[in-house]
């Protein structure tokens, strides 16, 4: 007998498979719609995860750069403030003294006592710290760059003891400041500037290279220390020699002041670079996030549309299944 039928099992298998497929896709679309993200990153990108990895790495590093730039910015701004103090002090110390030198002893004494405190002010400014690190100490950031102003003056007092001429006096002080065994070893406690820069961007670095042992700063210290010593009136030479000391030093401060501007300029240039790099970093963070979203995020409109289509399909399948279930001969033979 020839058989024209289609097995029951086959019919139910077909509808079960369709149902299973639709439900599986429904689940996935649901998840994507509610989370806004692709459910399976690997299959969404076809397995090519290298671009995503590069983007994530760049974003992570960008966080680090942001922190580094903000720390560098703080450090440089403290340096700028301190250098302003030095600039003011050194500029103040010259002109009045040069006038007072020609006027007479009482005027000189008054002018000297006014500038005598400048050395201490400058030493204290150079010892600025922020968050436990000293900004002028090079790579020994936890150590103050200079010994106290009083100690330095005490040492210098010993150095000039016995000098009777202005040239000798000034020479001794200069020797002490330039001698590696003098200022460098006994007063400057900081380290060297770091040769390497701190990374602040993917291809940018910054070195905060100004320390308290920079020549222009040492010059400033030398001039102001000399004036502070002179104001103590411990000089064993004549009064004319003393006036000479003050005049020569006051003239020197004019050169020192203009040299010091170079240091401020260097700091200013570094600050400008930081701002430049900061805005570059922000721009690149934004575009990296855009790229990442393109890979990971799912368009909610597309998901919602797909959800509608699937729901409709599933409902049609249910309708067909129930209709075919009723079309059984057995029903009619009851």
């Amino acid at each position: 007998m020839s058989y024209f039928g289609v097995g029951d099992l086959a019919v139910s298998l077909i509808s079960r498979r369709s149902n299973g497929n639709l439900k599986g896709e429904l689940l996935k679309v649901n998840q994507e719609l509610s989370s806004g993200r692709v459910a399976d990153v690997s299959s969404a990108t076809g397995g090519n995860l290298t671009p995503l990895a590069s983007i994530e790495r760049a974003l992570s590093l960008a966080e680090g750069y942001t922190q580094a730039t903000s720390l560098a910015r703080t450090k440089l701004s403290h340096q700028e403030t301190a250098l302003n103090v030095l600039q003011t002090a050194i500029e103040q110390s010259g002109p009045d003294l040069l006038v007072a030198v020609n006027t007479g002893a009482p005027a000189l004494e008054a002018a000297l006592s006014k500038v005598s405190g400048n050395f201490e002010t400058v030493v204290s400014a150079l010892s600025t710290e922020v968050g436990g690190t000293y900004v002028f100490s090079g790579n020994s950031t936890t150590v103050a760059p200079l010994s106290s102003a009083a100690d330095i003056l005490q040492t210098l007092s010993g150095v000039v003891d016995g000098a009777t001429t202005a040239t000798d006096y000034i020479q001794r002080i200069e020797n002490w400041f330039s001698d590696p065994g003098g200022f460098q070893s006994s007063s400057y406690q900081g380290g060297e500037a770091s040769p390497s820069g701190v990374p602040i961007g993917p291809k940018s670095q910054i070195t905060v290279s100004t320390t308290a042992s920079d020549p222009e700063i040492v010059e400033t210290l030398k001039d102001l220390a000399t004036l502070a010593l002179a104001s103590r009136y411990e000089f064993s030479g004549s009064a004319e020699e003393l006036i000479s000391i003050v005049r020569i030093t006051a003239e020197s401060t004019l050169n020192t002041a203009s040299d010091l501007i170079n240091v401020s300029a260097r700091v200013g240039a570094a600050q400008e670079r930081i701002e430049q790099v900061t805005s570059q970093n922000s721009a690149s963070i934004f575009s990296l996030q855009e790229s990442r979203n393109k890979i990971l995020e799912v368009d909610p409109f597309r998901s919602a549309t797909r959800l509608e289509a699937l729901t409709y399909q599933l409902e049609s399948l249910y309708l067909v299944t129930s209709k075919t279930a009723q079309l059984k001969l057995t029903e009619y033979l009851r």
Binding site: G7, A10, G47, E56
Partner: protein, 476 residues
């Protein structure tokens, strides 16, 4: 004489109708049974004794043997694709996708970022400690990935063991059933039920090994693999395999650490046992255990090697004194002879890791340093960062990119095998539906039953009529 033969013909009609009804009811009862072959009655006019009537020649078991054969091959292909797909899925989860910060690539990015932060505040002990911890987490990620690979191998090995024993017992059961069917059908009994069972058993092993069923006489079958090895004919062959309780990266079949497969008692075999089982889940598990996972392990070991070598370069840290740097092979330097499994042994240098009694300030001052140095020193941290990012002649691209490419390879393989699995799955469904078309259709059976009812009634009526005729004879 003709009346009695008419009676016997009508009787035969009744019994044929009864037998038909029996088969119809069996069919309807088994309408939802998978692997059931629809029963059809074979009738012929009776020739014995010169009289008329109908005889039941036998019961046919109707199946679409071609569709079944195709479906079995598709089952094997699906099983294989599933094993590969699930292996790469496991690997992808263990290694992690880049959007996840605790993935392998995420840990590398974290290490580099914490080194940047450490350069920004090198005097901060907590920042240095954070950087060392990031390195520890990276080493742990590599360890974990390596462990996952070996676990996958172990599971594959155990699955092989289980599947081989199922295969062996099924083969001997099929051979037994073969004999039973053969002897029963010679004596003319209905062997359809036993054939259903045998088909089920063969379906069971078709996923494990792709198998071809060849008909032999008297309803017996022979089972042959794709390369012509006979597994069942007059008797069953059996496979030999022993599972290994724990597996480490150095174990391979060649080294004798892992068991291979051998075949015994086959009536004819071509090639090795592995050639015989090629294409099913057992074969797939062997491939996973012996080649896919060793490949992944080798790539992981390559990454660990690169990590150790990059950070142990003499130029990175002048205090190294020839020893290993930030990353080590269990606190020794990298040795090519010990490359296999280094990913499971890579650790952060014990002189840095506080968990191993080290000090985090050595990240800044050098691994060999005995006392801490200037707190703002960023030279060594800078060269460690540089060693990871550098595109040097000996290392090619930067380390993060090497890792990302590795992750991508896993992702691509996984997607490929997912596609193969989806394709094989559709094939299986299609063949199963084709096979099912020959199955029981209750509507058809109901129609047949209507006809059988009529036939029974007609034959009964004839007997009634003959009875009346005889009665009238006897009343004479």
């Amino acid at each position: 004489m003709s009346l009695t033969s008419a009676l016997s013909a009508a009787n035969s009609g009744l019994s044929a109708a009864a037998r038909s009804a029996e088969l119809i009811s069996t069919n309807v009862a088994n309408a939802l049974t998978e692997g059931y072959g629809r029963r059809e009655i074979r009738l012929a006019a009776a020739t014995v004794g010169g009289g008329g009537g109908v005889q039941v020649l036998g019961v046919d078991r109707v199946v679409d043997q071609v569709a079944i054969g195709q479906r079995r091959f598709a089952d094997a292909a699906l099983g294989q694709a599933q094993q590969f797909s699930s292996f790469y899925q496991t690997m992808e989860v263990a290694i992690g996708t880049p959007d996840n910060p605790s993935s392998l690539t995420g840990r590398i990015a974290q290490l580099e970022t914490s080194l940047v932060s450490a350069m920004a505040s090198p005097e901060s002990d907590s920042q240095l400690r954070t950087a060392v911890n990031s390195a520890v987490e990276l080493a742990q990620a590599l360890n974990f990935a390596s462990t996952s690979v070996q676990n996958a191998r172990l599971e594959a090995d155990q699955r092989i063991g289980a599947e081989i024993s199922v295969l062996n017992s099924s083969l001997s059961a099929i051979a037994e059933m073969n004999d039973q069917i053969g002897s029963l059908s010679v004596s003319g009994s209905d062997v359809s039920g036993l054939m259903d069972q045998r088909q089920k058993m063969i379906d069971q092993i078709s996923q494990l090994v792709p198998i071809r069923e060849l008909p032999r006489e008297y309803g017996r079958v022979a089972l042959i693999t794709t390369n012509g090895t006979i597994l069942v004919d007059n008797h069953a062959a059996s496979f030999n395999f022993s599972a290994t309780p724990t597996i480490v990266p150095e174990m391979t079949v060649e080294s004798g650490g892992l068991s291979g497969l051998s075949l015994s008692n086959a009536e004819s075999s071509a090639g090795s046992a592995m050639d015989a089982i090629s294409g099913g889940t057992i074969f797939a598990n062997f491939v996973v255990r012996d080649s896919l996972s060793t490949e992944v392990q080798d790539q992981l070991d390559g990454l660990a090697q690169e990590l150790i070598e990059r950070t142990s370069q003499a130029a990175v840290d002048p205090t190294l004194g020839g020893g290993p740097g930030l990353f080590t092979d269990d606190n020794a330097g990298f040795d090519l002879a010990n490359k296999v499994g280094v990913a499971s042994r890579v650790t952060v240098n014990s002189r840095l890791d506080e968990g191993q009694g080290g000090e985090a300030w050595r990240l800044r001052d050098g691994i060999g340093a005995t006392i801490s140095g200037p707190s703002g020193n960023i030279e060594i941290i800078s060269s460690i960062l540089g060693s990871l990012g550098s595109e040097s002649p000996s290392f090619g691209q930067n380390f993060a990119l090497a890792a990302a490419n590795f992750v991508s390879e896993i992702g691509v393989s996984r997607n490929q095998h997912n596609l193969a699995e989806a394709f094989a799955s559709t094939q299986v469904s299609t063949f199963r539906e084709a096979e099912g078309r020959y199955g029981v259709d209750t509507d058809q059976e109901m129609q047949k039953l209507l006809v059988v009812e009529q036939s029974y009634a007609a034959n009964a009526k004839i007997i009634q009529a003959i009875d009346e005729m005889m009665q009238s004879l006897l009343r004479i």
